[in-house]
Amino acid sequence: MNRPAPRGAVGAREQAMLTIRDLSVEIRAGERTVRPITGVDLDLTRGETLGIVGETGSGKSMTGLSIMGMLPTGSAITSGSIRFDGEELVGADPRSYRALRGRRISMVFQDSLTALNPTRRVGNQVAEPLLLHGLASRGQALRRAEEMLALVGIPRPSERMRDYPHQLSGGMRQRVMIAMALIAEPDLLIADEPTTALDVTIQAEILDLLGRLKEQLGMAMILVTHDMGVVARHADRVGVMYAGRLVETGPTRSLFRQTRHRYTRALLDSIPSLEQDRGVELHSIPGSPPDPAESVPGCRFAPRCAAATERCRTERPRLEGDGGHVFACWNPVTDATAAAPGRALARASAADASTEARLEVVDLVQEHPVSGWAPKGRRRTVKAVSRVSFAVRAGETLGLVGESGCGKSSLGRMLVAMDRPTAGEVRLEDAKVSGVRRRELAPRRAKLQMMFQDSGAALDPKMTIGTILREPLAIQGIGTAAERTERAIALLDAVGLGPSILERYPHELSGGQRQRIGLARALALDPDVLVADEPVSALDVSIRSQVLNLMRTQQRERGLSSVVISHDLAVVRYLSDRVGVMYLGKIVEIGATDEVYERPAHPYTAGLLAAVPVADPDAPAPDQAERVRGELPSPLDPPSGCRFRTRCPLATELCAAVEPVLEAVGAAHEVACHFPLQPKTGDATGASEPTPRPATEEAA
């Protein structure tokens, strides 16, 4: 094990199309020198998909940009080589590099809104690579672009050609990006987080599309992502990056099944998944990634690694291993050290069905008027929340999931009386808290608290943490100054932070720490109800589990009634006792978490679950028929009847005419569907198998 790995062992296989050796990049910004990647080795063969995973800042994008020869100004490749088809790219002259770009190597970027030129028509942008490389005349190029748009699944491509990027939805834009990257039929496609900004449903479609096209065109692909699930399903081989280094790489199955690097292992363990035992605490990696400007002599992961030894801190491990599965770790994971199950969590006892509802929501409606002038009565409104009712018992956690824009946040804000509902009401322990005056609300104000998504924005940058934590007490006039400080220290302790942090300012904390402060503050007033809106979606994987665990502990210990909002089904599953699935302002399914996840009754829920990539290469490919297709209709005028019908494979005329209401399909499980996937309790006709109908690509 101590023997340094021979160079050749890195799996330099035959007919490698792309070979990267010992690649290091430096970025100079003022006095700081950042080394975003150090000594990276990679290989890629024709037709292969290489997934690169890693947390934010680990150097994934830099690797991709190095291959493209498009590093940001101020950065330079300091060592190493990149060979593409036998040609050395490091130091290649700009002309020949340009001839390669867009024609033989293409790239798809993450943010499709800024990656498309806002002032040029989509068609022209897609056709541009052909023209730039002189591969076609203008007319031909445009025709080809239209074909390409059709190929990536854009309906009515000839009309879309003349659209501007902003006229397309996020998913459509991403497809345009792909069409643009592929129009010249490149040999290598680098897709840098092509789906991160998208909903799971659309992510699944896009990734499948990419896989299909790759096959069709016989390309190789580098798929950059931070989502272990995505690589598990879509990559042939996987490289794991940490702090600018490639720490482990190997065939997907081998990497997931025989994970060797401690970091990879920790990462996999800390991801909440749809299968894992909810009674067991998530593994979490302490601390946060190092500053890329600092050079560390040993293993960069050592400070956060439970198995780190002295050697790890002083000596840099090299990639070694065999069979194309190599890793850089002094104390690799063996079967013996593999995942010890996490600590079990005490099940909250308070949350049994007998307890009375603490928070009640009755027919809640929220409609935002569309900005702009219109005659009264004809004002168009965004139907963000439409007649939603549910209840949360003391000590119970309700999760809300759904695609972006389905009204989760709008609902959440009404629950804590931040926004007034358009209709309906929210009741806390039988007292109305929605739509009442500030004065009337005052005694119950403190009982309703919220934890925000971006705690960076939720903490006043001009206040110290101490002031921030004391503020709720000060507002409510609780205790003396000294008592408040005491309380603040206790809160910090509760969220796992030391009192030394009191004098700091928010910008001096890491994202994870800030999110804990956000939680601490929400708890400061001992609330009865805590709404957490996307509490971890801004956090990186390794930090996410720290916060999730903390939240769960606090929920249980304090007997809070909480509502957890997230578009991430796994997060909701991990935190909640019950879960509600929202679609276009409505709750379409609600029930005990295990019930809903194991036996989804609504086709939408099933589709969502099917779309979530599982971090297991052996997981069966999801049923294509269950997929939710197309895009979310506009909340300005939602479809009649069942709002999901436009995307539902089971929809009939009935769905358009009659709006389904929530009906029980189990003991603690309700669904609003005419053709539920589970038999309705006490309703014979509902249990009959609905006639499956072929799904159409095109949503009306």
Binding site: S284, P286, G287, S288, D291, P303, R304, V416, M418, R438, A442, R445, A446, L448, Q449, M450, F452, Q453, D454, S455, A457, A458, L459, D460, P461, K462, M463, E471, P472, I475, Q476, D493, A494, V495, G496, L497, G498, S500, I501, E503, R504, Y505, H507, E508, L509, S510, G512, Q513, R521, A524, L525, Q546, N549, L550, T553, E557
Partner: protein, 301 residues
């Protein structure tokens, strides 16, 4: 002990503590950052230099700026008069100091007036929102659309200019930009999550305004103030140049330059360029400082 992970908390503390070893107060941090910024250093030195020149200069170089000296009028620079004399026989160097005092005072006063008015107006509009905001901002649009210099000129032509009235008039027209700026800032702050968090804790409007909104607009206000001073000095100069400046015994750089222009065909350069240079330097200094401040404050956001 309710801590979830005692071992975890200690570790993270260590890591973060090394990353941000010092925890200075923002003001001091800003000052330190400014000291390292060449733009800020240049700007501040220029301002300091001109302020010293104007306010301390007369102590070192006293001149008679009240008694007209008919015989020594319009002398070129030379012995006894390092920068010559003006048509009234005043020593130009000494007069520059006097003009500097007035120009700087008016600039500052106008800027403070404009910024205060603008901040209050903008904050009220931003906080009120809805119809009130719309009406208030349309009013600002209206005034903003009217060429400001024209208005000031009409007023200056109509009423006798004194340093105080000039500051009020200039301030009275330049608050619009501040108002817009602060309103924008308040609007964006108002929906920022930390303000909502405070509301959630039951904070009233007063608390929101004074402990959250105002401290967070402070940077913008200061930066704006710097530019306002610079702009006010330019406006006074333009007014002076067009003949609507101050008159004896007070003077400002613009008026000095303006009275000098009448003698341009006579080649009396010392009546024009020294005053011009002073204006350029002080405005340059203010702009440099303002931009540097904005950079520094922006980076801290």
């Amino acid at each position: 002990m309710t801590t979830a992970h005692p071992e975890l908390s200690e570790k993270t503390d260590v890591i973060v503590a090394t990353a941000t070893a010092a925890r200075p107060l923002p003001v001091r941090a800003v000052l330190r950052a400014l000291r390292r910024n060449p733009m800020a250093v240049t700007g501040a030195s220029l301002l300091l230099l001109l302020a010293l020149f104007s306010f301390a200069g007369p102590l070192l170089y006293p001149t008679n700026q009240t008694d007209v000296n008919l015989l020594d009028a319009l002398l070129p620079p030379g012995e006894g008069y390092p920068l010559g004399t003006d048509p009234n026989g005043f020593d130009v160097l000494g007069r520059l100091m006097l003009g500097g005092q007035v120009s700087l005072e008016i600039g500052l006063l106008a800027a403070v007036f404009a910024t205060t008015l603008g901040t209050v107006y903008g904050a009220v509009a931003g906080l009120a929102g809805g119809v009130v905001d719309a009406i208030m901002m349309r009013f600002v649009d209206v005034l903003l659309a009217i060429p400001f210099l024209f208005f000031v000129l009409i007023i200056a032509a109509r009423f006798t200019a004194t340093p105080l009235t000039l500051s009020l008039v200039i301030g009275g027209f330049s608050w619009l930009v501040s108002a817009r700026l602060i309103r924008g800032e308040v609007l964006s702050l108002r929906v920022r999550e930390f303000v909502q968090a405070a509301r959630l804790m039951g904070a009233g409007d007063q608390r929101i305004i004074f402990t959250h909104l105002i401290p967070n607009t402070f940077g913008v206000i200061i930066v704006n103030l710097t530019f306002q001073v610079a702009d006010a000095i330019l406006v006074i100069a333009a007014l002076g140049f067009l003949g609507f400046g101050l008159s004896y015994p007070v003077t400002d750089w613009g008026s000095q330059l303006s009275s000098g222009v009448a003698y341009i065909t006579a080649g009396n350069w010392w009546l024009i360029y020294p005053a011009g240079l002073c204006i350029v330097l002080v405005v340059l200094g203010l702009n440099l400082l303002g931009d540097a401040l904005r950079d520094v404050l922006d980076r801290r956001r």
